[in-house]
């Protein structure tokens, strides 16, 4: 049997070394190897967005990235969204707008919304709905999530 691969990457600003099998996805590496369980597995085929992470400035489904591909990349996960100064305005907006029920999809939505507002500070409702179409939520009907993102955009302006 072949051996594991050594990978050096940057996660949430810190240099991280890990060993993984090439068949392990970035999501598996985050969860099983690094014990960073904030990114969730909902479908493992890129259709629910619960595993969304930011890779080199773009959001991706981490279930559809091989762990070995992370070499030399900059990965940002839900665990890096809040800082020592407190919650990110999007996180605060999700709380204030009750934009979560069970919460399993929430990390993916927050990582995705953050990337949207960084690229487009004042998106329309339709733009938010399009951007978040790759993130499934089964609890909320999306209403309060979309409102939370609009609210955060306003507060970040």
């Amino acid at each position: 049997m072949s051996t594991k691969t050594h990978v050096q990457t940057k996660i949430n600003g810190e240099t991280v070394d890990f060993l993984c099998e090439p068949r392990q996805s970035l999501l598996e590496v985050l969860r099983d190897v690094l014990q960073m369980t904030g990114s969730k597995e909902g479908c493992n085929d890129g259709n629910c967005g619960a595993c969304t992470v930011n890779m080199d400035g773009r959001i991706v489904d981490s279930c559809l990235v091989l762990g070995v591909e992370a070499a030399g990349s900059e990965i940002n996960t839900i665990e890096g969204v809040a800082t020592s100064d407190g919650l990110h305005p999007i996180q605060q907006a999700f709380l204030e707008n009750a934009a979560l029920q069970c919460g399993i999809c929430t990390p993916g939505f927050i990582v995705a919304s953050k990337a949207l507002l960084e690229a487009e500070p004042n998106p329309s409702e339709e733009r938010i709905r399009l951007w978040l179409a790759g993130n499934l939520c089964r609890c909320t009907g999306y209403d309060k999530i979309v409102r939370a993102v609009m609210d955060a955009a306003q507060k970040m302006a």
Partner: protein, 747 residues
Amino acid sequence: MTTAYEPNVVLSTKEYDVVGTRPIRHDGVDKVTGAAKYGADFYASNMLFAKVLRSPHAHARIKSIDTTDAESLEGVRAVVTSKDFGNLPWTYERDQVMASHKVLYKGHPIAGVAAINSHIADHAISLIKVEYECLASVATVHEAMKENAPILLDDLRTEDDLGNNSESNTNVAKHIQYSTGDIEKGFNQADLIVEREFNTATVHQGYIEPSNFTVNWNQDGRLHIWLSSQGPFEIRGDAAKVLGIPVSNVKVTPMEIGGGFGAKFSVFSSPIAALLSKKTGHPVKVVNTRTEEFESSTPTPGSYLKVKIGITKSGQITSGQAYLAYEAGAYPGSPVGGGANCLFAPYDIPNQLIDGYDVVVNKPKTGAYRAPGSPNAAFAIESIVDELAEKLGMDPLNLRLMNASKSGTRRSDGVKFPRIGCIEVIEAMKSHPHYSTPLKGPNQGRGIAIGYWMNGAGESSITLTVHPDGHINLVEGSADIGGSRASISMMAAEVLGIPAESVHPSVVDTDSVGYTSGTGGSSVTHKAGIVVYQAASDVKLQLLDRAASIWGTDSNSLEMNNGVISSTSNHNLKISFEDLAAQLNDTGGPIVGRAALTTRGPGGAFAGHIIDVEVDPETGKVAILRCTAFQDCGKAIHPSYVEGQMQGGTVQGIGWALNEEYFMNEDGSMANGTFLDYRMPLALDLPMIDTVIVEVANPDHPFGVRGVGEVSIAPPLPAVANAVYGATGIRMNRLPMTPASIANITK
């Protein structure tokens, strides 16, 4: 797309200090930072990973199972089959966990493998050789009820209401019948009779978190299960039963749960993981893939309904007759009873006859899904009532109002309605601006519908511990699936006159709290509300007693308001809850309040929807333009999360109406077991979902609470159908309403 009107309205009847406000939920920060630990996030030391081999066939006899190659794969630690249950008796429950002689649906478990990682376990199950003898299968109630249909369960007989069993083999597990008045007389009194047939597809709850279990069978015989479940205590009991061990030997630790909607009550693969743990001496984790979730968890049934309604020219419904056949899946137990109870519930119909059939088919065992049975029934009755209103030239809400159930009306199963809010919901719909706003263009339609759910009550156990700083620890056993920790804490805070933030709720394991029935039937805020009210009142009484003993006075002369204990006779005697809490250990000891109770009187819930659609006439695609949801919630403890329940249920109903279905291949297997092809609504498919909370207090609850979790899923099915009719002139009688069927391309 900004909204010029007030999107969410609370028609409140009674104001409180904490109840009815919108604090940030207690578990919120953990959930927006990724810190919250869900079942699959649990990692035990020395843990192994399991995978389950499942049947590729819908119906087959198992001739042999050869696990030799799987066992010898490097990294595999154990393989189990139904033989590993030993001499335990064969039951439906056990057979559902792992098939022994026959597989009854594609996805039926046959064997489990534990290995050092999930990839090896996955590889190993592909090395297990199973010889099958394939049998003919049945995918719908129509096929299953045919004469000479393939029989799933050799011992199954039809049980009637009196407990009598049929003589011959059958796929019909149960026949229920409700009869009121004189059905023929009722139809004779009618000026107009409409009879229609409806078919609905099997659908899935679609929670985002797949089922997961980590199980450790300890050397001392104790079994510990970490999981994401709606019913930790139900799982404790069922796991003990399937594994043949005492219930006291099982401890269930509920982790955070990523949605359930009724489906996460089953033991699923946990007994397989238990057997693997016993065999290996390691904790074993098993997490379903999404496809396993579709093919082997507990979806909610497809159904066939035939409903006939008689009505007078003036709009009085005289008679209602119905035939309901619901899929049970591979083992008995469909929610046809729920369907029969809910079908005519919004209406006072003097003459009724309902026949309901529970039918086994070669699909996974069905389970609860948000008001189980009710949406299928609502689709039928509300489509017909809409048609009746049109034929009589009456406003569809006025027709409903004329016939609406109220306190004292008997439900079809004989239950007399207590105070209910059916009329109030319809009135709120009538007076809402959405109802009077004209549609804006061609190919648009507006549909309205109402629906009912019984709601549930049950056991709840809660303890409250007073901290020295005047905060409260709240220990409860209800899995929190959508914000119930907040609402329960708010009710405790209301009683004690402290802020919601001063209550710290924990959902704990089954060893650490009294029996608490599961998070289902919209029961939690109701039952935990009654119990927390009593527990907080218990704390309050003890605080008054303590203050009385400190002051050397009679506790009857003391009162507690807004968190301050004071004497009614001596103005100088006054102490805040916080100050008293600091003295507890030195004045007699800590204070713990407790209550445990089997609650009753959940009050029923009614909901109504107004939905506007636009249909692309060439493709049949439906766009939801506007949607307003109305619901009687008794009292909204945390209105934001009540709105969230209404919005979420509404959108699930829209998905059920338009796109969701188990698409079955010819061979009886599911074709679309992924989130790509099982099409649940996306953010881009929807407008904002406006809500109107109607509060008709439930007299059986200290805060007037009625369950709010479920009923909002039912009316959207017929409301969308009625809206599509408005846009196209075509009455849809089959779910989902595919674009092809709406474009009237029927081949």
